[in-house]
Each structure stands twice: as C-alpha cells, then as structure tokens.
C-alpha cells in the first residue's frame, strides 16, 4: 500500500506545472480580495427597508420567495430537471429488493420517519419568521424518504408512476401558477397582492417542500418508476459505431 501511495503522490511535469499555476492564481485572487475595501453596503439596507411589505418576518425567506422569487422559481426547475435527467439515463426501474429488513432497523425507521416528517413540516412553517423554509423542510422530507429506502421499504416502488410524477411537478407547477395568478391580479409576475403575501408564500413553500423531498428521494433511489417498460440490453447495438444501428 505504501508503495502505491508513493507512486500516487509523485506528480509528473504537467501536474507540477498545473499546481504552480493554480497556486499563483489563487495567491493573486487572495491579494485582490485583500485590497477590496470591506465597506461596500450590499443590499442589507434595502431588504430591511422593504421587509414589512414582504409579508414574512425572516429576511432570508423574504429575499428567496418575494424579492427574488423568480430566481427560486427557476431553481426549483433545476431540481426537477435533475430528476428528469436521471430518469432519462437509467434503464432499470427502482430496485426491488425487499429481503432482509432487520426488525431493529424497522423499529428505528418506524419511530424516526414520522418524527422527521413532523420536523420538516415545522421547519416549513417556521420559515416565515425564523431560520427554515422550503429547502430545509424539503431536505428533511427527502432524508426521511432516504431512510425508508435504506431500510428497504419499497415505498417508491409501490407508488404509482402517475402519482409520483404529480408529486414531483406539484411544487414547480404551483409556483408558476401562483406567479401567473399574481400577474393577473397585480400586473407583476410574483407581485403578491397586498395582505395575501404570507399565505401565498406558505402555500408555495409547502408544495415545494413536498416536491423537493420526493425529488431527493427519487434521486437517491436512482431508477425510474416501475410503470414504464423495462428494456432489454442488446450488446450488439452498443458495439456498433452509431446510435443503435449496425
């Protein structure tokens, strides 16, 4: 092992050059960072001034879902895109093993998973005035899902494909829907009508948290819904030079 490590650590000429180059660049960037005066105001004051109009008390949630809600809308799409990409890549459906679930693990899961869902819902609700929100809540939903998958509970497999898709799209679609709804009411995309901002934000956050949780769990499972046909592997088609035709 030590022999391989030695060989591994030795850098060849190109790597040494690269290392030198990167060190120089990083040093340069460090000096530039040093010289930038640290007194640029940023947008803190602007946020503090408009905080009351945003409908939520937490400044981060106000920025995420109100002032720069359009960013967040596109970002939810990025998450969904990852699932679409993952499903387009895999040939096999979700794995179907349901063999040796130990009772201890099952007990832990039975205790933990509802608790995590509870914490996640609390985080989503808390997001309006303290740290928390759709992403944190969704992440914990996702973690609960992953825990159940690790315990080999086949919940993703038994969920009908259509339902899973609806759950995944729910958050993004609702986000776009609310944005358009606000457009018709106030004339601005995502310009929440007065007084309704906090409710609309909470609805968006709840829907997004569910979708994000499902997204993360299905990314972990790394397969496709079972409803779609399974493909046969044909090596003859893969060895030919292009696109499945010999």
């Amino acid at each position: 092992m030590s022999r391989t490590r030695n060989r591994h650590k030795r850098l060849d000429g190109f790597q040494r050059l690269l290392l030198l180059l990167i060190i120089c660049l990083i040093t340069l960037l460090c000096t530039i960072l040093w010289t930038i005066p640290g007194n640029t105001p940023g947008l803190a004051d602007a946020v503090a001034r408009l905080q009351e109009l945003s409908g939520v008390e937490s400044p981060v949630t106000a920025v995420l879902l109100n002032f720069r809600g359009y960013d967040t809308m596109l970002e939810v799409m990025v998450l969904l895109l990852a699932v679409i990409g993952a499903w387009s890549l895999t040939r096999a459906p979700f794995s179907e093993q349901m063999k040796n679930t130990s009772p201890v693990l099952m007990g832990v899961v039975r205790l933990l998973a509802p608790l995590m869902c509870l914490v996640a819902s609390y985080l989503v609700w808390q997001g309006s005035h303290l740290a928390g929100g759709a992403f944190q809540g969704g992440a914990i939903f996702g973690a609960a899902g992953v825990l159940m998958l690790v315990a080999e509970l086949p919940w993703l497999r038994v969920t009908p494909a259509r339902l899973l898709r609806i759950g995944l799209v729910l958050g993004p679609l609702l986000f776009v829907g609310v944005a358009l709804f606000c457009l018709f009411l106030t004339g601005d995309l995502m310009g929440y009508p007065e007084g309704a901002a906090s409710w609309l934000i909470l609805i968006i956050e709840a829907a997004c948290a569910i979708s994000i949780g499902l997204t993360l769990a299905s990314l972990f499972a790394g397969g496709r819904p079972a409803g779609e046909a399974r493909e046969k592997y044909n090596p003859a088609s893969q060895t030919c030079d292009e696109e499945g035709r010999p």
Binding site: A82, G85, L89, P235
Partner: protein, 111 residues
C-alpha cells in the same frame, strides 16, 4: 473584518484545491467530490462577504439566499452526475462483457 478575510481566503484555497483535483484525477467520483469542495469554497466566500459581527448592523440576507439557491443546485447536479457516472461504468462494463461473448446477451442484463 479579520474573520471575513480569514474565511474568504479559506474559501479561495478550497476552490483551488478543488480545481487541481478535478483536473488531475480521473476517477469520476473524485471529480464530483472535487466539484463539491469547490462550490463549498465559493459559498464560504459569499457568506463571509455578508458577515458583520454581532451588534454592528444587519446581516445582508441576499448572499444567504444566493448560497441556499446554490446549495440546492449543487446537490441536484451532484445527484445527476453520480447517476451519470454509474451509467458510464455500467454501459462500458456491459459493453466489454458483450464484446467478449461476441454479441450474446449477458444473462444479468442491468441493475
């Protein structure tokens, strides 16, 4: 000020380490790890920019929102890249197998 600077420099160094690893290592998982370290470095600088010590004014929430967005993006990209890396390995493995058996379908098709 010194705190901001300290964490910013750490972020930059993490970024540099990430780039170096990304270029020289060829294992896909290592590349994905390197990208994650790089993105953490960038987020660290961004959050350090927003930092003001307790009692010296408001924290700028805009970089925090940006970092939250960035973290979610990087998790989704990481997941996609991992699945892609697995697929690359599977298809090329199966390809080798299939070539060895001269066109016969391998019994365990895919998993």
């Amino acid at each position: 000020m010194i705190t901001t600077l300290l964490y910013s420099l750490t972020g930059l160094i993490l970024f540099g380490m990430g780039i170096f690893t990304l270029i020289i290592h060829s294992h896909p998982l290592r590349k994905i790890l390197a990208v994650n370290v790089m993105s953490t470095g960038v987020f660290l600088i961004l959050i350090a920019t927003a930092y003001t010590p307790l009692g010296q004014g408001n924290i700028d929430p805009v970089p925090h929102a940006m970092v939250l967005t960035g973290i979610v993006v990087s998790v989704s990209v990481t997941a996609l890249a991992l699945i892609l890396a697995c697929r690359v390995q599977e298809t090329s493995n199966l390809n080798l197998l299939g070539r060895k058996k001269q066109g016969k379908v391998p019994e365990e098709s895919s998993k």
